[in-house]
Symmetry: C2
């Protein structure tokens, strides 16, 4: 049967030769007809660009031509010819067309007109057939591949850390429970509590919020590792920046200090974004126009100062600004919006956590470039971050991007057993559950560092999509688990 | 501080130059000392090979030398010199050694002696520091990278399908429930059932058993896609071949028929295994010896007919045998173990499902090569497999490997709406929950196919590890969710 002999439109656009006999398969985007000829725009998902099929009603039957409607899937046999029209250098003169699957124009929801992103979210099973979502998911793929290639080239090992976990050190209660117990009639202990001994794992388990702690274990053996897997938050946040299920990239490196960590994160971000720029030029050009059109509908003060492509190049071509939290507080305290009380949260004291409005001020107004903020107060950061000598701050870093805010969070890890023990005690973190984490500090501990990158935030930044639900195929949010 | 200036042992072994001044960091594997000199075998996880450090007690203090015990982490400054001993061409003459982390010899469990795999499983947070597990996880990384590279080179797009899902079409009840409800006091409806409207997703949800159905949706837009993500089975199987949490690779391709699917799967398996052979030569050589030693402890009839490396090359160098289920039943019916009633499940009738013993007979005894079994009875396969014209079989394929049994399962998918509807009705599959799956058959349907590969099975095959718990960092099995 050899269906596989079809040519992909991407390849045809790049290297199709006039005179070739070829087979194309794909979905009809549009058809324009007159008495003498039909022009079909065909897309097979390999490229944002359609390919033009010329169908002569003397060759292709009326029945077939009638079934060629938007959304239909067809197989085209024909010859590559020089195009008479503008917009393409070649086209295919069809010698035969077979209908693989019809799409009833009365029922197929993706007719060629503008659809709202909200509507397309409801038909996420079909939205990848649109220009916008085709582009988004091709770029998403390119970024994922660039991540693997970057780390592989550097000698990092990819580790799959567990999804189901019994440790909740970072979860802060916002985790999903995983169970095989009968929720209606759970088994109880003598004391009347749930008898988790009868659950699948013989203990209480939940979905991971981060692979970092297990990643550290691997780094203390293999030196440089990274994770790239799903993580979960049962947080009731209905925003454009939150998902209940999202993918995280978490490199962990033995023998890195805080500065090494910053160097790696900056280089990593620049390289993967550069990869997308080189490998997804057509898709990004489309998304750049799309973002500009969207921007034009906004009020002047909400418009981006740079276009999408401009923003991407800006990130890849400029060193990130590196300042401490303390320096940032000074800048913010003396900033116009703080003095004029324009911030929702005014900055007066050292020690407060920064809000999105402050991060965006630093990045978009003050420095006008990505910022690495370091050395936060220990009170607003996690127990595993390395304590600085000042007794007040930890060797944390957050990387802030224009339009996105925090895209990376990381730190040098506390490798000194005593310091770690003391901090865990202060924060009432159950040390018995974490015996394995503490043991890496007992046996051959080493300075090490790492960071976490929310993959969807990166895809948002690179594609310019405003809502995080539009950069993952089937988003999970409060009340939404369709598909 | 610039910790990052250290040289990796892998690079030093490949291209270290006599006379270079370098910094090394890693964990001490062993130390041999006499009055005049100490030899330290250092490993940093970048390679299975240790690097030899020569420490002169006239230069390195007694205190430091005393702390250099197995498992300790050290920083070595020194010069690359030609080695006097055998086993290495260069070594480092230490001018300074700093102890980064001690490892109390009384407490550190990984002393240099043989440890059982069972014991090492209990200290999974440390086992990656052994030769065997270092090798396994480097090979696992190489295979994962090879998967991404293979599909990227072919123009497939990586899709992240959902982990939390409300559809249970394939789950057959063996799924983990995901909830934020209070299990002790779940909210109830008027009718006394659990009120899932109050759960996080406002419905009953569970962990995915496969990304295939969602993968198909993406293939019907982007042509060729693959997934690589975690999947789950709440099956109470305490075997060497089952995990509750494991990673699956699931390519789905529009415009592929059954034969295209087989061609892709065979080529894919051969290419990723070849990649490991080229990129993990040292690790695989070690694992080959390890497997041979383990084999030698077995009874003659249980020993492998081929060594590990031999087996890998055999798979990459030979075409897979392709036979139908019907042909396989004939072979099995007339086989010696069937006639002599040696099979636990005797083969007498067409239609029975094949057991592991039958698959292994076909692969290891009859054909002595990987086998692609096709066209199974529809009764023993899933609803989504394409029905063959005979009315009895479906266009399924299983790929069977020596020692492992089924490593790939796939099929051409049923793209005809009527046939799919009819089969779902026969099997009582809730069609209203699957409206989105059915819509891809309504709107521009196309012949398509795909398969699933259990990644850990592949890692088992390539590393020769007998127990699947030894090829994933932190295995999840009944009663086990430690780390």
């Amino acid at each position: 049967m050899a269906f596989n002999k079809r040519v992909k439109i991407k390849h045809l656009l790049e290297s199709g030769k006039v005179g070739e006999q070829i087979i194309l398969m794909g979905w009809v985007r549009t058809k324009r007809s007159n008495k003498n000829v039909s022009f079909i725009a065909l897309n097979d998902g390999s490229s944002i660009n359609n390919y033009q099929i010329v169908a002569d009603p003397a060759i292709i039957s009326e029945d077939i031509l009638k079934s060629i409607t938007t959304g239909a899937c067809i197989k085209v046999t024909g010859e590559v010819v020089a195009s008479q029209g503008t917009g393409q250098s070649t086209e295919v003169q069809a010698s035969g067309i077979a209908i693989l699957g019809e799409a009833d124009p009365e029922k197929f929801p993706l007719q060629p007109k503008k659809h709202s992103l909200e509507f397309l979210r409801e038909i996420a099973h079909l939205r990848m057939r649109t220009n916008t979502f085709g582009a988004v998911f091709r770029v998403r793929h390119a970024l994922a591949f660039a991540v693997h290639q970057y780390f592989n080239d550097k000698g990092f090992f990819y580790i799959h850390t567990p999804i189901i976990t019994a440790s909740d050190a970072e979860g802060a209660g916002e985790t999903f429970k995983v169970t095989t117990l009968d929720i209606k009639n759970p088994p109880l202990t003598d004391k009347g509590t749930i008898d988790y001994k009868q659950d699948f794992f013989e203990r209480e388990t939940n979905l991971t919020v981060s692979g970092q702690l297990e990643g550290e274990l691997a780094a203390m053996a293999l030196s440089e590792i990274y994770t790239f897997g799903p993580t979960f938050r049962a947080e009731n946040s209905n925003t454009t920046r939150h998902l209940a299920e999202f993918w995280m990239i978490e490199p962990e490196m033995a023998f890195y200090d805080a500065e090494d960590n910053q160097d790696l994160a900056e280089d990593f971000l620049q390289k993967v974004i550069s990869y997308a720029l080189s490998n997804c030029a057509d898709d990004l050009e489309f998304l750049d126009k799309r973002a500009a059109e969207e921007d034009a509908t906004k009020k002047a003060e909400q418009r981006s100062e740079m276009g999408l492509l401009q923003r991407l190049k800006f990130v890849t071509e400029n060193r990130f600004e590196r300042i401490t939290y303390t320096q940032a507080i000074d800048i913010l305290k003396n900033s116009t919006p703080n003095k004029k009380k324009k911030f929702n949260y005014l900055i007066d004291n050292w020690g407060v956590d920064l809000q999105s409005e402050h991060e965006r001020y630093l990045v978009e107004k003050h420095f006008k470039k990505p910022v690495i903020l370091t050395d936060y107060p220990k009170e607003i950061k996690s127990f595993y971050m390395r304590q600085n000598d000042d007794g007040k701050t930890v060797a944390a870093m957050d990387i802030l991007f224009p339009g996105i805010g925090e895209i990376v969070g990381g730190s040098q890890r506390e490798e000194r057993l005593e310091n770690l023990n003391q901090r865990m005690d202060e924060l009432n973190i159950p040390k018995d559950e974490m015996w394995w984490y503490l043991e890496t500090r007992k046996f051959g501990t080493a300075p090490h560092a790492g960071f976490g990158l929310g993959f969807e935030r990166l895809v948002q930044f690179v594609t310019g999509m405003g809502n995080i639900r539009d950069v993952i195929a089937f988003p999970r949010t409060p009340g939404n688990a369709e598909f």
